[in-house]
Symmetry: C2
Subunit: 141 residues, 2 copies
């Protein structure tokens, strides 16, 4: 059956995500996919919750709730925004940085398996096409 | 920045999903992404809730809850399983089929835009690579 392109994207994405979360959970870093989608978009210098909400495609309330959970688990911390004393920025905390470091070798493992399955040329072309699609699908590209 | 392949898949997927749900909502078919992930996997002859749970990557409880919502909104119906009188199958109902029909022209529109952006060759190669990835990422391929 000819699946639509949305579903063709979703199937490998879900597999990727499940592998990463399983590896994180095994290593003691419990984090949900919803939390991770917000966490992944935190800018190096920190981000406002409203920006994280927009980038993760969730409501401001949901983002606030997820950031609170992440803060309680030690993955992020909230600090005053140097640009506006009344606003706060969400930053990656030490435990969050540890989880990211742990993730990177699982990600490398999955990418190596996919590369072995598709071959270098198809893997590179697929990544290049997906990167080009960001121009029309990612407002933060 | 070089994004990992998981995020490269997620970004266009999210844009695709948001377009489809916005179009459905405008046409009066309110359905959440979580409901749709279960709904999309219903087999032509109907599916058991446990199979839908596995295929959508959610718990049995969550799938049951989503199927109940879908049933209340008229998108699915539950019928006795002809193969096992005590079991029940989830089937697409008339309103569900209408929503699918409405979806297909939005999907075609998005695919045409992506094809125009990437060109025929890259779009076809990307779809072919994603289809090949199902062999190692989709247990129901």
């Amino acid at each position: 059956m000819d699946l639509n392109t949305g579903l063709l994207l979703f199937i490998p994405y879900r597999a990727f995500e499940q592998r990463v979360f399983a590896a994180l959970a095994t290593a003691g870093y419990a984090i949900t996919p919803a939390q991770a989608r917000v966490f992944q978009r935190i800018a190096p210098g920190g981000s406002r919750t409203t920006d994280l909400a927009e980038q993760a495609g969730v409501t401001k309330q949901t983002a606030g709730f997820l950031v609170e959970q992440l803060e309680r688990q030690g993955y992020v911390q909230r600090v005053p925004d140097p640009a506006d004393g009344r606003a706060r920025l969400v930053r990656v905390a030490a435990r969050g940085a540890e989880a990211v470091a742990h993730t990177s070798h699982v990600v490398a493992e999955i990418e190596a398996e996919w590369r072995a399955h598709l071959g270098d040329a198809r893997m590179d072309e697929m990544r290049s096409a997906l990167t080009a699609l960001r121009e029309i699908t990612d407002p933060w590209a």
